[in-house]
Amino acid sequence: MATQLKEVDAVIVGLGWTGGILAKELTAAGLKVVALERGGLRDPASDYALPGVRDELRYVHRHDLMQNTARDTLTIRNKPAQEALPMRQLGSFLPGEVVGGSGVHWSGHTWRWSDNEFKIRTLYEERYGKGYIPADMTIQDWGITYAELEPYYDKFEYCAAVSGKAGNIRGQIQPGGNPFEAPRQRDYPLPPLTPILSNVVFSEAARNVGYHPFLRPSANASRAYTNPDGSKFGACQYCGFCQRFGCEANAKGSPHMTVIPIAMRNPNFELRANSWVTKVQKDSSGKRVTGVTYTNVLNGEEFEQPASMVLLCAYAINNVHLMLLSGIGQPYDPVSQKGVIGKNYCYQTGAGSTLFFENRNFNPFMSAGGSSATCDDFNQNWNFDRSSHGFVGGFTVAAGVNTALPIGYRPVPGGTPPWGKEWKAATAKWYQTAMTIGSSGSVMANRYNCYDLDPTYKNAFGQPLMRMTFDYTENELKMGRHAAQIVNDIAKSMNPTRLNPASVRQSWSVVPYQSTHNTGGTIMGTNPQNSALNKYLQNWDCHNLFVVGANVFPHNASYNPTGPVGALAYWTADAIKNRYMKNPAPLVSA
């Protein structure tokens, strides 16, 4: 039988960026908080230090910091008519499983999503007419505005040591920044990273054809930095081992070296690592949650942790899984389009080209996680007319290197054999001479792209696996074709010796890595009929349950998600501290 523990004020499920931010903020406000993290506690001095951290096999190919698929995974299919099969090896996306979560192994790209996303249905209907949005595209307004979130973006950027150049300060366009970004109150805490050669040559080519390249803002400290909480950052060393690794120089903004240690110094806080939450418990009314059940994965012992408030802060997919396993809210049904839990799962799309320049050395081994020059002309730029291409959403176009690894990074021109003597000669010849131009594209919600519980396969705890049904629709194909054309036009203008051109992704495959940017499933919105959570990420059914992470996004943009994930965590922390603690009730009336 499960051991009953003493009630606490709040239990946090998952301790990455969102759990860390809430743990720090709520313990400082006087709440007794317990955090349960399924992964282990790592010590940066031994686990993320040289030389062990540069072990590509361990961290990249054997996924040392990621979810263990032998214990729990998802089943995957493209279409509702197919039988979903379990993903036995991680591929397309890499959820973190460690204290610090995916915030340990991310690259640091930090964007501000704006009203282009938050008011998407209103804006597209206003500009392009009601008939422009396809009937099966279930996009909706988020119920929040950029103006509301602006101070919280700022807070996250200053916490995480984001290096970049503002493009728009209170309406004034700033040279060197992204001219299309939403207005901000002040610049980033640190200047942009030093550009690498591929950033420089791409920027020149993009500018020549009339686009507006800028250096991407990223949580890689461009110089030593102390954040407003007193957390200390070293300067990024451009070591080339960023994505999928912990930082050896304490230069990557990560929860395990900022918010989590601050929470841990607070006597109100307790961390229990290796603790796997299997269920959120409800009371008999179904209107309140009472705590969680979890298993210590080291010895199999089961516990019940009662709490006045439950905060789901696990990886986006696992938050939704836990809601479905706990029977909170009505599961979404794509046929009747009733129910909300599992609704609007989205991913991202993209198109990439590789350019080879004989006798030009790019030194790809030397880069930061955020070494990228980016154009936002087809994304945040609302003046870009989507109607001539017939899609909703946008895409960024960018060039740079992120983690050009000794084993994994082997660019060769098309037509090269995939192994043997010729491949070896080609990889030796072209390694130094290649650069990539890629685009990352949004994915709009579709009624058939969703999560539910798998009817067949179970995890190590005997619980049904999460089932993901996802494929690209005509909207993404239209956008992908346009993105590939823009990428190839810029690439050709640079006269490479050889070019592997970009092409549209026709169908989604779970096998190759693409991005850990899974969104939706427990979306925020304006009412309980169309969403699982209100604008404060509070559950409509149980007011003492908050669900935080990219699972709250009603659709996915082309930008990386961590900026709004961090900002929304601070936003929710403030709503809990300033309003919910004084009057524990729904913060928005249904």
Binding site: A45, A49, L50, T194, G234, E248
Partner: protein
């Protein structure tokens, strides 16, 4: 400044510094120590990614038993004093090849002198 330029300028700075005697400013050094503090605490035994620097002056390199040093630093035979710190901070990989400190070096001689003045004063 690119990394290669940074390394180059630090090598030039190293040539220029020998024998330069100027007044050191430990106050300024404290500010410069911000480049180190993400990894190196000044409190005894409080190791981070790098070892705590309490009592570093006069100590042999890689001497503390409770920190895992690189083989390169263990072999180096260095005793930390103004001169050895000066060349190590200027260009760590040049001074002790294959050491594990992820730091590209401090190019300006005056910065290094001020930093070492601070270390001497604050980490006794």
């Amino acid at each position: 400044m690119t990394l290669s330029k940074l390394l180059l300028s630090s090598a030039i700075a190293l040539l220029a510094v020998t024998g330069a005697a100027q007044a050191q400013d430990a106050k300024r050094g404290e500010k410069l120590y911000e480049e180190c503090v993400a990894c190196h605490s000044k409190d005894r035994g409080a190791h981070g990614i790098g070892p705590a620097l309490h009592g570093v002056i006069g100590r042999k390199a890689a001497e503390l038993a409770d920190f895992r040093y690189s083989p390169a630093l263990k072999r180096s035979g260095i005793t930390w004093n103004t001169q050895s710190l000066e060349s190590y901070i200027a260009d760590p990989q040049k001074a002790v090849p294959a050491n594990r400190m992820p730091y590209a070096g401090m190019p300006e001689a005056r910065d290094r002198a001020d930093l070492i003045a601070y270390i001497r004063a604050a980490m006794k």
